[in-house]
């Protein structure tokens, strides 16, 4: 029997009836999921939800090459389930999260620790992997770091300058977003979605809009899709510019770092020109577009954009012209392609390891069904590669936006979404600037959120940073860290 029969198939941005999703006994469910992962499917989301006094598991996998998502669920059970992690490490954090949120024990999980709730356990030094030996020393950093940056705790096991192992403990930014969404959408929900990760406001709010539109059976007008794509690419450009500036700063290449710091702000100001807020708050709403970009504003946007893009490409160009900066990035913090696939990296971190993985390309929705952005991939997996992919993406997004400014669709009137269909599940993926954002929404019999599962790309990628540090000099940590630039708050929720 084809294992795929044991899953319900859907495309990105679609919804299914909850009872259409095949339900299996726990052991069959786990077997089906592993068989599918074995055949090359990718784990997009894996979570539990309560069912009476018991719980059940839901898995969402992606078949990227066929643009298909598949969903399956287990029958309700309690106690434990066989861990997928020993064979499929990409499941490791999902299983820790399931254990933390619903107490289901993943039997055989090699490193079962809380994720974000039980901080005393998370940061207890006893619960970190430690390397033994007379020459070994441990460096512990954070939660408060030496800069204007979010909190996290890092423990390095070092032999002299060389890092043998790095373990990253997060959770400090946990503020209860998933719990707060239960029973929603509430009036505050959209604002909480916009602040899952402040630098990815457009990414997360677009994923939310798409999830709700699927649940309401509503098609957002083309105009709204156009605005979202413009805003998403502006967000990408602002962040990539800032990151390349930060990387330049860490190797003391000041011209690029100074200029990019300012140009990043110029991109944010373009976002503000569209919606009034530099981070895109208020840009995206389910069902319609709150933004009307009239001809005068569009002309101004497009004119300022061309200038800003030219400035950005010039400033980053200086960095590439500097051989000593390039040399500092090469062969530092490398993650090879098989390892990247194994731990389930997404987004630019994955593409920098040679993995062809981009939601805009594999699972296009919205405006990306009509206009394509070329994919940027680089094979080496090191800091250089991650900088290079950002650089390529800046050029691609730049060209894309210039074209899209000329293809503005007609404004159509559309309604706000007032109610969602009951007992439905929708899966919504968006390629944010860091990578794949996944929102899975499930409604109850009243059409309220029964579960709203958020996966920020950082959830998949923090492990990538930890592994990139293996056998590197500890002094290379800053550039490795900047080259990933992952979100603490997006992870911590």
């Amino acid at each position: 029997m084809n294992v795929l029969n044991s899953f319900a198939l859907l495309a990105n941005g679609e919804a299914l009836d909850w009872n259409q999703i095949p339900e299996y006994s726990l052991s069959d469910f786990i077997r089906n999921v592993s068989e599918e992962l074995e055949l090359g499917a990718r784990m997009v989301s894996f979570f539990a939800l309560p069912e009476g006094s018991e719980k059940r598991l839901v898995a969402v996998l992606a078949l990227d090459s066929s643009s298909v998502l598949c969903v399956s669920r287990s029958q309700p059970f309690s106690g434990s389930f066989p861990s997928l992690t020993p064979k499929y490490p990409e499941a490791h954090l999902f299983e820790r999260e399931i254990y933390e949120q619903y107490g289901l024990l993943p039997l055989g999980h090699p490193w079962l620790k809380p994720v974000r709730k039980n901080l005393n356990v998370i940061q207890d030094p006893k619960n970190f992997f430690s390397v033994e030996g007379s020459e070994i020393h441990e460096v512990s950093v954070g939660p408060v770091h030496a800069g204007v940056i979010e909190p996290g705790h890092f423990r390095f096991q070092c032999d002299g300058e060389e890092v043998l192992h790095l373990e990253i403990a997060l959770g400090y930014q946990h503020r209860g977003i998933e719990e707060a969404l239960l029973g929603g959408p509430h009036r505050l929900s959209i604002h909480q979605i916009e602040t899952i990760a402040g630098d990815t406001t457009v990414g997360h709010s677009t994923a939310y809009a798409q999830a709700l539109e699927a649940l309401a059976g509503v098609q957002a007008p083309l105009y709204a899709l156009w605005v979202r794509a413009i805003a998403l690419e502006l967000e990408r450009l602002a962040n990539h510019t800032g990151d390349l500036g930060a990387l330049a700063n860490d190797v003391a290449f000041i011209p690029t770092s100074s200029a990019c710091g300012k140009i990043r702000g110029d991109f944010l100001n373009l976002t503000a020109l569209l919606c009034g807020n530099r981070f895109g708050r208020g840009m995206v709403r389910p069902g319609f577009s709150p933004i009307d970009c009239e001809p005068k504003r569009l002309a101004l946007l497009s004119e300022r954009f061309e200038q800003t893009l030219r400035d950005a490409l010039q400033a980053v160009g200086w960095l590439w012209d500097s051989a000593s900066s390039r040399a500092r990035f090469e062969q530092v913090g490398a993650v090879d392609t098989p390892l990247a696939a194994k731990i389930g990296l997404v987004g630019l971190a994955a593409r920098s390891c040679g993995l062809v993985r981009d939601v805009r390309f594999d699972h296009p929705t919205g405006w990306y069904r009509f206009a394509q952005v070329p994919l940027a991939v680089w094979p080496d997996g090191d800091v250089f590669s991650r900088a290079k992919v950002r650089w390529l993406e800046m050029q691609h997004s730049g060209e894309f936006l210039k074209e899209q400014f000329n293809s503005q669709p007609e404004v159509e009137s559309a309604e706000k979404i007032t109610s969602l269909a009951p007992d439905k599940l929708s899966v919504s993926l968006i390629e944010g600037w860091r990578g794949e954002i996944c929102h899975v929404a499930l409604t109850d019999s009243e059409g309220r959120f029964r579960r709203y599962k958020i996966t920020d790309p950082s959830f998949h990628n923090w492990m990538g940073l930890a592994l990139a540090l293996r056998n590197q000099a500890i002094s290379d940590f800053p550039i490795c860290n900047k080259s990933f630039n992952l979100s603490y708050c997006g992870f911590d929720l």
Binding site: R116, L119, P143, V144, A146, G147, V148, I149, E150, P151, G171, Y172, Q173, H174, R175, G176, I177, E179, A180, L188, H191, Q192, E194, T195, I196, A197, G198, D199, T201, S258, A259, G261, K262, G265, R278, F279, R281, S487, Y488, C489, D492
Partner: protein, 138 residues
């Protein structure tokens, strides 16, 4: 304020559970477009070098202890500035059981700068007013 700190103000930033957009716009003031240093204001790495804290976020319970410890490490006299809706009242996360809904639930606050996030200009305006450095409008 001038009497307390002379002409310079060194601040240590602590994020405590927000969305990181406030931090982003605090950072912006340090870039060449704004050059905060010319006003004698600087962000420093160690609380021991600081005259006060810039706090963002609703103060997640998971950050409460780290925030208090950082505050204790700043020598007297010291000030606390709460930046953004989160730091003022909990913002979008107000009343979640995982947060303390504002910095003043944990530390005495001397200045509140509103916004979600506040524009860099708003932050600058707040800091300069605190230092009594805004020129009088004529």
């Amino acid at each position: 304020m001038l009497k307390m700190f002379g002409r310079s103000l060194k601040l240590r930033q602590v994020s405590a559970g927000g969305c990181n957009a406030c931090e982003a716009d605090i950072n912006v003031l340090g870039t060449i477009g704004w050059d905060l240093g010319r006003f004698g204001i600087q962000y420093v790495a160690s609380p021991r070098h600081a005259d006060g804290l810039l706090v963002t976020g609703p103060v997640s319970k998971n950050m409460e202890l780290a925030l208090k410890k950082t505050y204790d490490a700043v020598s007297e006299p010291k000030i606390v500035i709460a930046i953004g809706a989160c730091a003022i009242s909990g913002g979008p996360f107000a009343n979640h059981e995982q947060v303390r809904s504002g910095v003043d639930a944990v530390l005495p606050v001397d200045l509140y700068i509103p916004g979600c996030p506040p524009h860099p200009l708003t932050i600058l305006d707040g800091l300069l007013r605190l230092l009594n450095r805004l020129e009088k409008q004529t």
